[in-house]
Structures are given as C-alpha cells and as structure tokens.
Symmetry: C2
Subunit: 349 residues, 2 copies
C-alpha cells in the first residue's frame, strides 16, 4: 500500500477555529474548465466619477450629499440590513420550531479615500494607516452603543463578490448578537484557552512560522499565511505576532505594520492574475460585550473566489453546500505562488 | 415600543438541523441593484449535441465512448475529487495543528436521459421515476462497498452554479467519512431523537402542514416547503410524510409521488423568472455505515441563487461569510410566490 502523500492524495484537513473539515483533491487541479467565465473589467477608472454615489461631493440615493472628504469617510448604510429601533419581543412559543428573535444593529459604509480608482494595494501606506485608524474609531464608537455586542468589519471587493460600486469601500455591521461564524470561532477559542491556558491562534502561528511553507508575507508584528485548512484557493489569514484581542489594542508600530502587511498581501493578490483581485475580507476579534475575552485573537480573513485565472473562479456548490468545502490546489502550493510574486504592483511596472 | 412583526422587522431565525441562525431583513428587499448581472442563456438546446461529452454515443475527455443509452446513464467521473486507492496513513503528530487524513471515495456522474435539452421539469414523470430508481441503485451499490460510509447525491444546475455542461446530469460522491454538513445534521437529529424519541423533521413537517404558509407543493407522500430558516431566497426542502431514513425504503407509490413533487417544484422554479432556474440540490439521508440510524429522515435540499430576476442573484459574501447567512425576502413571501405559480411549464404555454 502506498504511504499517504499530502501533496498528491485526496485527504481531509481539520479546521480547529470552526471545528469543520475541508476536502483537498491535489490531483484535480489539472481538470479542464469549460464552464462559466467571469467578466474581467479592464477599463481604467477615473480618479473621480460624477455618477458615483460614494465620491466626495456627490448625491446619494437618499438625497444626502457626501462632504468633500479628504481621507476616509463613514456614513450609515442607506439600505441597512439592520435597524436601530428597539422592538418589543414577546418571546417564542415553548418547543416551537418557529424560533425567531428581533435583532438590532447599525450598518455603516467606510469609503477608503476620495480616490475612486485606488484600491488597497494601490494606496500608499499612510492612506491604509488612516483606514485602520477609522476601523479603530468605529470599533470603539459602535462597541460603546449599549445594545451593540459585536462589530463586524468587512470588505466585498469586485463585482463577482457582490460589490455594486467600484469606489473602494468596506462595510461595518454592528449588532446585538454574536453572528453564527463568530460564535463558532469563539466557542473553539474558548475551549482551547480553558484546556491549554494559551491562545489557539498564537500557538498555531508559532507552528506556521517554524515551517514557513504557508507564510506569504511577514514583518515584525504580523504574518499573512494560507491556513493549513484554507477553503478558498488563495485564502489567507493575517495574524498579529503578539496576543491582541482587538484592533484598539494595537500600538502605533503595530498599526503601521498591519498597513504594511495589507499593502504587500493585496499587491501580490493583484499581481497573481494581473487583475484587480476580488475577495471578501473581514476582521474577527473580541466582541464588544464588556467581557475581557482573553480567549480571542485579532485576525483578518481573505476569501478570494478566483482559481485559475482572472476569469475562472472556484464554485462552492453542490458537494460543497451539501457535504463539505472542497479545494483542488493545496494551501502549500498557493502560498508558494503568492510568496514568489513581486511586491511591486503590476500597474506600476 | 413597537411589537415585533416578523414580516417587517430585522430578525434572526434558528435552524435546528445545523444549529445555526440566519439574519432576515424583510425591509431590505426594496434596495436597488446596480451590481453584477448573470448572463441569461436563451438559446434553445438541441436534443442531441455532437460536441457534448455526455450525449449518447459521444467520446469523453478520456477517450471512452458513451453507450447508446436510452434512459439514465451512470459513469465514473473522469476528474474525480476522490480516489479509490487505499492509502497507508501513518497518523498525525499528537497535538499538531496540521491534522489531515487520507480520504477514499468514488465519484460518479448520472446523466438524466439521452435528451440534451430536457431538464427535470421538462421530463415526463416516468423519466423522473427512472432517475429515482437509478439513485436507489447507486445508493445500494456504492453503500455496499466496504469502505464507503456516505453517499452524497446532488445536482449543480446552470452555469451560475458551476455546471460546465448543460446536458442534464447530477453527480454522486461516495466516501469513507461523513462530510461536515451531514455530520452536523446527524448530530442534531440524534440529539433530538434521544431527547424526544421522535424525528425532528417529522415533527417539524407536522407543524408546517398545520400552518401551510411555507408549503409550495404537496401530495399524499411528500411536501416541498420553504424552510422557516431558509438561507437562499427561494430555497426549498422536500420531506416525506412518512418517517423514512433512506431512498431505498421508498414504496413504489412513494417513488411516483417523489417524482411528482420534483416535477411540480422544478416547473414552478422555471416559471418564477421564465428561465431555466439554476440551483444546487442534494439528498440528505442515512449514512451507509451499517447502523440503523433511526434518527435520520430522508430529505432533499434545493439551494437556488436567484433573487430578483433571471439575472440578479443573491451574493453570500462579506457579512455572510464572516458573520452569518442573510436574506431579504421572507421565507413566507417566497413560498407564496412559488405556490401561486402555474404547474404548467412556461415553454409549454
Ligand atoms: O464536477 P464539476 O461539475 O466539474 O464541478 C462543479 O461541481 C463540483 C462539486 O460540487 C465542485 O467541486 C466544482 O467546483 C464545480 O465547478
Ligand atoms: O451591501 P451591498 O454591498 O449592497 O451588498 C453586498 O454585501 C452584503 C453584505 O455582505 C450582502 O448581503 C449582499 O448580498 C451583497 O450584494
């Protein structure tokens, strides 16, 4: 019988953050693709677009006028999924399958800068530092609202990720309850902390920094790695080297180092297929419920859909929806590809 | 304070099958959409396509020739994600984060019929009965393979769901381990069965058949409903009215009734936006590990991506990936829309 070769044989990998497995089929990356291709937008964007509802000075859908902002700009989402109004909840019938509860929250949009044409990798480090400061302020302000217990900072980049306006921006959805994925993560971080007295992601990062093979970008304070259990072909996670539970605990050195990792990682992403690389990214950190949450570790996920080129993405469909997430290219191979890419943006060459 | 109105106020609903919540934002269905639109294929397909590697008599990628099949046709996937070869697994290092295990399995493709142009709703009931018989045979044959403990039957329909060949077909991935989603479901079914001595989905279906508002299609033996906790805008689930753990337990009456529900449900789907409605569907049922699995209940999920028209889909992206699944239109509204649609296929009018 052949000995198990993780680089060749179909296998499952365990994700301790969410207590789930992923199916890895290394041999399958050679299969031809005759299916749907994504449209690739190659039109250069202007610095300012008079039709864009996010550009400075323009009018939004609800008639409000954006200020002549010069760095980042935050406003309440005009089509928020959550509402701030308190609701009188009568409770659910005991034992009923129809279990629901009202949910209060605040949704905000964060325009990264007035420049309609500059995504993260094309901004300078100071501009990114400014975004991180904005995230810190929002985490604090929203977290201080009495009924808000969780602040989800995220970005949908690219039309393939459901982003309807190319003006670089992210979102923040803050709410009363812990969202499902965060609660799952917290349960696993907590169980690990109670068992070992240490932080799961800190211990994991130490193992990764020893073997190096999944590290993409690193500096004094942060590392971006392709997790051993990554689902998306070029998924990465940024983790701080110091045990930090939330973004407001960063020193100014760490803010600068985080900006550096963000710029270098997203530049490599753009360079991979020489396209503005689509992804959803999001920060996972301690809830704002007033507890200490020593079990938490600040980290940021990047879930990019592309697989083989600017137009061929991975479809997480039938088997993946009914059974289990599945990937073809191994995390080690993806990390190697990303690591070997230049840190100079392809448009600047 | 206003009283909670489930038809108007943002809220969360609980899914007892997987122990997760979904965020529902009923008021948000009115937001305008300026983002990506899907290509809609309006070209009529021929009954036979000489270029199709699934049509009868044609040559596949690996050089094999399809037989002149007349009903359904099953073959091993030429680019299988799983391999049958046994692998010598040394085990994982104790306490390591790099936890992996080889996985054996068999992947098959099920062509629904020789007709290149007939999807489920356009086939006659006899043709669908024949597919169900094929699924039964495959569940038995694959389940009997010594190292196979789970048989996942599914279909990816439409290019937006990663389907690369329009010839109507489904797939079967059979493997040693219980896939993540199935294991989660089983854990919850088991806990319920041990606590109540009854089946979770049977008890749930009874509640649904009492209130009726989420029922889309029903006959003597089956009902298709939009689950109270549905994630996708027009998600449905087919459940048998009798407690059945697996597809091979169907009586011939039940086979016919299942075919009837499949045809009526998928016809309504096509009629909704007068398009060949994309979805991933899949059957969840008892594993083939030799245990009795009284906690199980046969059911079939349909996860369709479309939201507002043939070209506007729901994006499960940033917040949904990092936080929690989110929907705009309520399950009750979706069920009502589907229920009110004709059961005659729009192409036949
Ligand atoms: O096997 P196919 O149809 O080529 O591929 C499709 O279904 C598979 C199973 O859901 C997925 O892993 C692929 O991402 C998808 O493109
Ligand atoms: O808020 P947007 O950018 O209009 O919408 C996008 O992001 C949201 C949050 O991830 C999703 O719920 C939407 O499906 C997606 O299209």
């Amino acid at each position: 019988m052949r000995k198990f070769d993780i680089n060749e044989d179909p296998h499952r990998r365990y994700n301790p953050l969410i207590n789930e497995w992923v199916l890895v089929s290394p041999h399958r990356s050679k299969r031809p693709w005759q299916g749907q291709k994504e449209a690739v937008n190659t039109v250069a964007l202007p610095q300012y677009d008079p039709e864009c509802y996010l550009c400075a000075g323009n009018v939004r859908a609800n008639g409000e006028v954006n200020p002549a902002y010069e760095s980042s700009f935050v406003f309440e989402n005009d089509f928020a999924a959550l509402k701030q109004e308190p609701i009188d909840f009568g409770g659910n019938e005991e034992g009923s399958f129809f279990k629901a509860q009202p949910e209060r929250g605040i949704s905000r949009v964060v325009c990264f800068s007035p420049r309609h044409d500059l995504t993260l990798p094309e901004m300078d480090v100071d501009g990114i530092v400014n975004i991180i400061h904005t995230w810190q302020k929002e985490y604090t302000d929203l977290g201080n609202v009495d009924y808000i217990n969780h602040v989800q900072i995220f970005e949908n980049k690219g039309s393939v990720m459901g982003c309807s306006n190319p003006h670089p921006h992210g979102q923040i959805w803050a709410q009363s309850s812990l969202p499902t994925q965060v609660e799952k993560t917290q349960n696993n971080l907590k169980a690990y902390f109670e068992k070992n007295g240490t932080n799961l992601l800190q211990d994991y990062l130490k193992e990764e920094l020893k073997v190096k093979e999944r590290v993409v970008v690193e500096n004094n304070h942060f590392a971006a790695i392709v997790p051993f259990w990554a689902i998306w072909p070029f998924e990465t996670m940024i983790i701080s080297k110091r045990h930090i539970t939330k973004i407001t605990d960063f020193t100014e050195d760490e803010v600068a180092a985080f900006a550096d990792v963000l710029k270098r990682l997203t530049t490599k992403y753009d360079n991979l297929f020489e396209t503005s690389f689509p992804y959803s990214s999001g920060i996972h950190q301690a809830p704002t419920d007033g507890e200490a949450h020593q079990e938490w570790q600040f980290h940021m996920h990047f879930y990019p859909p592309l697989l083989r080129s600017a137009s061929v993405k991975k479809f997480m469909v039938g088997y993946e929806m009914m059974g289990e997430s599945q990937r073809d290219i191994t995390p080690e191979k993806s990390a190697e590809m990303l690591r070997n890419l230049s840190e100079v943006h392809y448009k600047q060459k």
